[in-house]
Symmetry: C2
Subunit: 461 residues, 2 copies
């Protein structure tokens, strides 16, 4: 890879001073990787603090056809922030102001570097919250870029449903607003949804206007065990079919529960488990909970353990959110490879069971957990990265998992995205539709400088 | 305009026989218009019956660079189906098969010509329904193309939220699937949402995979009058802020109510009125209704009149759906011009009141009604199309309505779309973002044959 042009370095030095860095430690922090993909550090990092600094940085890079990689919190899972073709990482993590909050309209505008936890902390006394919860404390810009969703999607939707509009810097440095603040619009192409999930390949998200939701009067979470994944999944299917408004419906397999117990010294039963949550008025929540219990009963569910006060609920969800990391306790020193697929819910039990069957033959541990109300589940494979046979077995497992999901009418990724890791899977899933995506990429980024090689290899565009 | 090439005519004659027509009566039926815009009949109509006939017709037209205008039920309001540059109308109204229905997954795949009423008729015994309700019995393909929404958007979302994927024929005759059947996906650009609202300018929608919803155990509608638009709007704002799950929240002004009474021999009070609806369990609905009544009380609402059985509810909503037509009874022989805007709900009362103030000075009647829970409202102007001063006054009124909506952070159209009528308004609202849309149009339709002049004038692309 060639060095960055001296002229570009001088221009960004002048613009950003010490916030433009080519130091190895800084670059290493921005290279992604860490899971199944190697880190790909950028050649430099531009730690911008404003929209105008994004614009100037993009214009400088565009003038030299130098790649640009937007960077938020670096929590993505398919090496989205890796500099596959070198270039400059534009780190927006210092841009974390809340620019506007309207209680009456239940919306706000925030800079792209603000994280979801920080936003909810800011909103604490407003009676409102931002529901999208992918687990990690990701930046909101990154969550939009990867079309994040997570545990509350069933009730509140993911980023697709909760972003009203974006301010985006185009690859040639123009600033556009994708939409007004109206709750709905029929005004032209849906640029908001085009940028949501574009993984930094079409422009840099500078700020987001987000839908907020009233904090429910009551929230209640429950844990229930089952004798099989099918019992847990059938419970959720039936609850959804009855129109029961589940706020969260998470499945964790027996091995995940063992890992959670080990990592957090909890005493959950080590069995196929559902974590459920209901939001509403106190009456609503009690009513929903009773109906859920009755449905679980018919599918072999054990007793419900309830957690209604905030602390008990937070403990429960902290365990859920850290389950992937907890899995590491099953094999200290292993590298976790977290993959996800999403299938029509009718195919969920069979896909989960097929995955669990194959895990049994892998020779290393892997846990299954997921947002089963949406048909979305994760497998975290715990591999010895130094053992080529384990890496290739994990790769075969992932390929088979994806192939089964696609054959069942599902998608190769429900929420992790394509990045570098699932480009072939995207093509297998959508075929020629990927050519339309590449046409759009070429039209909006003719130099191919925005996060190159992500979603599609450079040769495809 | 030149005649259609003889070779194209021969090719489509051979393909479709009598279903390819250049008869004046058939063409006249496909020209749109009728509201404030003149009809623009196509040069011929291809009444296709299958995906492969769409493909062959598109390929034939593409070979001659002949414009293609997709046509469903012809109920759109901004002359979306008019042949602004001549060409062939591809009428999919005979394609109305339900291709697949899954109760377990609560989804179905339907051909683009099926109407929403016909789909719900088909679903009648399934326990499921398709909620999106723009009023007119539009085709589902057309509803996707115009990003339709309507009375139930508040609770269920519009087409944007209720389409899982589309089969689209591209302008060069390729068949693509935009997405899998998974409830959510992070696999590449959101082509589904790009085609939803593209108004036929990017391809022909052949079929749609739709989310369905369980028919609620109980539904209850209510009518309540207010002394001002502000009282009605404030009631809805407060209900939304409290997290009350309104299924429908419709505002009709006093003149609309007078028109409804005249047209349907009903005896509603002729005042600012809210039509509300709640869905849920019988207990939920009773509980929501009581809370809504208490909120309305604090905003000067009169007594609630309830309609809980199906027949009474249907009568109520039939009156709402036909209110726009009923308005004609206020001025027999007038031409109705129906426009819509959507604003943040905090600006709704002032925008409605400003519109009503200006209506007072117009010299001809106009009614105001809308989906106030979303901030979306309609004005139906009843003009004498032969009086140029009325036409220009109506145009000035519409321009001012749109300008106020944009100034308030809203959009020039919440659900009617851009078509031919609101191209300048789109530019006023989104500025340079429209250039990105035009770039996408040029990339996916390089010959510019798909419904040319809609959304942007040909010169913009």
């Amino acid at each position: 890879m060639n060095d960055l042009p001296a002229d570009l370095v001088a221009r960004l030095d002048a613009l950003l001073g010490a916030r433009f860095s080519r130091a190895e430690a800084v670059r290493a922090h921005h290279g992604g990787g860490g899971m199944h993909l190697p880190a790909l550090p950028p050649q430099a990092v531009a730690a911008v603090q404003s929209l105008s600094e994004i614009v100037e940085t993009v214009r400088a890079c565009a003038a030299h056809a130098t790649p640009i990689i937007p960077f938020g919190a670096g929590t993505s899972l398919e090496c989205h922030v890796g500099a596959a073709r070198g270039g400059v990482s534009i780190d927006v993590s210092a841009m974390k102001n809340v620019l506007r909050l309207s209680s009456e309209d239940q919306d706000c505008t925030v800079e792209a570097g603000l994280t979801r936890v920080a936003l909810n902390e800011y909103l604490r006394h407003s009676g409102l919250f931002f529901p999208v919860d992918p687990g990690a404390d990701a930046s909101l810009g990154g969550m939009a870029a990867t079309r994040a969703s997570g545990t509350t999607t069933l009730r509140y939707g993911g980023m697709r449903e909760n972003v009203l509009g974006l301010t985006v810097v185009t690859p040639d440095g123009r600033v556009i607003r994708t939409a007004s603040r109206a709750r709905k619009s029929a005004a032209g192409y849906d640029l908001t949804r085009l940028f949501i999930g574009s993984e930094g390949t079409l422009g840099v998200i500078a700020d987001l206007t987000l839908r907020l939701h009233p904090i429910p009067e009551a929230m209640s979470a429950a844990v229930c065990t089952f004798a099989s994944p099918a019992g847990a999944v059938s419970t959720v299917i039936e609850a959804v079919q009855c129109g029961l408004p589940l706020a969260r419906a998470e499945y964790l397999d027996a091995l995940t529960m063992r890992a959670v117990n080990r990592a957090f010294a909890t005493h959950h039963a080590e069995a196929d488990t559902l974590f459920l949550e209901f939001h509403g008025s106190a009456d609503d929540v009690a009513h929903y909970a009773e109906r859920a219990r009755m449905i679980a009963d018919t599918h072999g569910g054990g007793a419900f353990r309830w957690a209604s006060d905030t602390e008990a609920r937070n403990d429960l969800w902290a365990a859920r959110h850290r389950a992937g990391l907890a899995a590491l306790s099953l094999r200290p020193g292993a590298r976790p490879w977290s993959t996800d697929v999403c299938v029509p819910i009718s195919a969920l039990a069979s896909c989960v069971e097929a995955a669990k069957h194959e895990i049994g033959a892998l020779g290393f541990p892997a846990v299954v957990l997921g947002h089963v109300g949406d048909g979305n589940f994760h497998v975290v494979l715990l591999i010895d990265a130094a053992a080529p046979d384990e890496v290739s077995a994990a790769k075969r497992f992932n390929d088979a998992l994806v192939a089964r999901a696609i054959a069942a009418g599902g998608t190769c990724t429900g929420e992790h995205g394509i990045g570098l890791g699932k480009r072939a899977a995207l093509r297998a899933e959508l075929g020629e539709a990927v050519d339309l995506m590449a046409d759009i990429k070429a039209a909006l980024d003719p130099q191919g400088i925005m996060n190159p090689d992500k979603i599609f290899a450079v040769a495809e565009t």
